[in-house]
């Protein structure tokens, strides 16, 4: 046994890269199966873009759970509210959005996204105070309360905006695709990819390079110890909850534009998807959530291309496969 001097650096935790390689391997495996290279590129870009959007929606949920052991079954409501708020800006200013100029398009798109994030963030504050705080620490009641919140939010949207599907056309600058050789890549998907990457990097930087991030990670690992050191973890948690809600709202805007339509039921629809992503990634892990989102999107896109019938249950199969391999998700962060 060698002696360890006090001045030695702490042993680095072993890097666990197997999950990181998973999407890469999956994508490469698909090349021979799909056959045509141009469709492979299109599908891969599509799944990466879809994965980014799902990641944006899911990231808040996984952090909220990891930090405070609160699972928000009403997370989908933020997604739907975000998409609807965006229509409030995008539809009256449709002439700007349809103008043939990138700047004018952005001048309406950016405020719409910001407003959505503001509204959903504020809504997050209300939900946290009214629905989550009173039943803090009681899983059963949390699930029931937040499910109730989801119903109320969805029905209020129906009452305010009507039950019909609202069309939400993409701004002109993001319509169409870039053509590289015989590969067509849709502009909006590239934009989604870009935003998703920026947000992923921003979250990783905040978590790993700032004091707040340090506290959040410490709180995920051992909440009581952080409290014992004198930090007000409740306030930290409120901040994370609001940020997560705002991100869900942004995801909702992006999803609405991606589908070019908005309906209150996207909340329900995406809740399931987001849950699967969070489970696959491991509750509380941002990196796991990122990989999980890409995997889910890949399975949906490749699966939809190769075996359309399978697409109905492909997510469940993916979840089962991942949990067989790692029962607590790709990256298990919490000891819970």
């Amino acid at each position: 046994m060698s002696e360890i001097a006090a001045t030695d650096a702490l042993p680095k935790p072993k890097r666990d890269i197997a999950p990181l390689l998973l999407p890469v391997v999956l994508a490469l495996l698909m090349i021979p199966l799909i056959g045509s290279e141009s469709s492979w590129v299109t599908l891969t870009v599509a799944s990466l873009a879809m994965g980014m959007m799902i990641f944006i929606m899911a990231s808040g949920l996984t952090l909220v759970f990891g930090l405070m052991d609160v699972l928000n079954f009403g997370h989908g409501a933020f997604i739907a509210v975000g998409a609807y708020v965006a229509t409030l800006v995008l539809l009256p200013l449709a002439s700007w959005a349809q103008a043939d100029s990138l700047l004018t398009n952005l001048a309406v798109l950016v405020p719409a996204a910001l407003l959505s994030m503001g509204v959903t963030g504020a809504l997050g504050l209300v939900v946290e105070r009214v629905l989550v705080l009173p039943v803090y620490g009681q899983h059963l009641k949390q699930i029931l309360m937040t499910t109730g919140g989801l119903i109320v939010a969805e029905q209020t949207l129906y009452a305010l905006f009507g039950p019909q599907i609202i069309p939400l056309p993409l701004p002109t600058a993001f319509r169409g695709s870039f053509i590289l050789g015989d590969v067509a890549i849709s502009k909006y998907r590239l934009l989604a990819l870009l935003i998703g990457l920026v947000i992923f990097i921003a979250i990783e930087l905040v978590l790993n390079r700032t004091k707040i991030g340090l506290l959040i990670r410490a709180g995920v690992e051992n909440r009581e110890m952080v409290e014992a050191l004198g930090y007000r973890i409740r306030r930290l948690f409120l901040g994370v909850f609001m940020t997560g809600s705002a991100l869900a709202g942004l995801g909702g805007v992006m999803w609405g534009l991606y589908r070019e339509q908005v309906h209150a039921s996207i909340g329900d629809e995406l809740t399931v998807l987001v849950f699967i992503v969070v489970i696959i990634g491991g509750l509380g892990s941002i990196t796991g959530c990122f990989i999980g989102a890409i995997l889910v999107a890949m399975v949906a896109n490749y699966g939809g291309f190769l075996v359309p019938k399978l697409a109905l249950v492909s997510n469940i199969l993916l979840m089962v496969a991942v949990l067989m391999w790692r029962p607590r998700g790709l990256y298990a962060v919490t000891s819970r």
């Binding site: 699972l71 899983h139 059963l140 009641k141 029931l144 499910t147 109730g148 009452a159 469940i316 029962p327």
Partner: protein, 356 residues
């Protein structure tokens, strides 16, 4: 007491309420004329059994499942597909039972063994995912399930409304196949509820409660908690599937909206919470209150909505529109989880004067 498995209602008001509900349900075909009253009564019976089986999960083991409608739907579709495909006779009904119940059992076993080993929250998420996949599957495989339209079918001869056993000239009302079906539903549901009472008051039920209160401790005492939870899940699934079969027999139809949709799951949750979790009796009370309200309050809402529109109030007509019934339900749900976590039964059982 034997029939109630030594678990009486333990409150005079509750006993009276239960007796009134059961007697009213028993006598519905004779004292409330009309198809609507009979439909409401049958729905109360079916939902009382369904909700009681859900209570076994939610109230006695503390695990939230969102897949209960899936099992309900399996039962409904089993009957519908069998009677549609094999023709309206008792062999098809037997075939449906022989196919539907094992299917529900296997699925519950798989979900349970897979997801009940860890946190309650995990189980909730996985059941939600599986149930939504099943809903999509049922509405897409239209060659089998009839897709969004569902399947209508004929009942066996004996249960048809045209089959008259006692004519009107005898007692002033007709006893026909419809009424026979109603009593089939009534007694089957009563039997299932009594069986559930037996289950929760057995040593097995006590272990479930121990797991709910403190899983770690129950495990330390030597109980294999995963198996207990999985058994409970299987029992609940079988009863839910049976309730689904009765539902299909009563409606002569099975479709995504009547047997699988997420809103039925919410209804079940609400009924459990209103009635009182972990009591079984709560299921009967919850189902009765909820379904009566659903059928008769919506009419009231539409009156209020029109009145508000006539008065020129903004927003209110939209909020009070009968289609927004779920909105008020959701608010009621949150309020009852928050203020009355023990439900009606818990309230009636607690001594007057004390706060709990």
């Amino acid at each position: 007491m034997m029939i109630l498995s030594g678990d009486p209602p333990r409150s005079r008001a509750l006993s009276i309420l239960l007796v009134v509900i059961v007697l009213a349900l028993l006598a519905t075909p004779f004292i409330f004329p009309g198809a609507k009253a009979l439909n409401v009564a049958a729905k109360i019976c079916i939902f009382a059994a369904l909700v009681a089986s859900y209570d076994l999960l939610l109230g006695y083991t503390g695990s939230v499942s969102f897949a209960h409608t899936m099992f309900y739907g399996i039962g409904s579709y089993a009957i519908a597909i069998a009677l549609y495909g094999l023709g309206p006779n008792w062999t098809s009904v037997a075939a449906a039972v022989a196919a539907g119940l094992p299917l529900a059992l296997l699925l519950a076993l798989a979900i349970g063994l897979f997801s009940l080993r860890v946190e309650a929250i995990f189980f909730a998420m996985i059941t939600l995912a599986v149930a939504s996949a099943f809903l999509v599957l049922a509405s897409q495989l239209s060659w089998l399930t009839g897709g969004e339209d569902g399947r209508s079918f004929q009942l066996p001869e004996l249960l048809r409304p045209g089959t008259v056993f006692i004519g009107k000239e005898w007692f002033g009302f007709t006893v026909n196949g419809r009424i026979l079906t109603y009593y089939l539903v009534f007694f089957a549901c009563a039997l299932m509820i009594l069986a559930l009472l037996r289950v929760v008051n057995s040593p097995f039920g006590r272990v479930l409660q121990a797991i709910r209160e403190n899983r770690f401790r129950a495990e330390a005492l030597g109980f294999r908690t995963v198996f207990h939870l999985t058994y409970a899940n299987c029992i609940a699934a079988m009863i839910a599937a049976s309730a689904g079969m009765l539902n299909a027999l009563w409606l002569r139809y099975a479709g995504p909206d009547t047997s699988l949709s997420f809103s039925i799951m919410l209804d079940i949750l609400l009924m459990v919470v209103i009635g009182g979790m972990g009591t079984i009796y709560g299921a009967i009370i919850g189902a009765a209150i909820f379904i009566l309200a659903q059928n008769y309050l919506q009419a009231l809402m539409s009156i209020a909505s029109t009145a508000a529109a006539d008065a020129g109030l903004p927003l209110l007509p939209g909020l009070l529109h009968p289609d927004r019934w779920l909105l008020w339900l959701g608010l009621l749900f949150i309020a009852s989880v928050y203020f009355f976590p023990t439900g009606v039964v818990g309230r009636l059982r607690s001594k007057p004067g004390s706060s709990r």
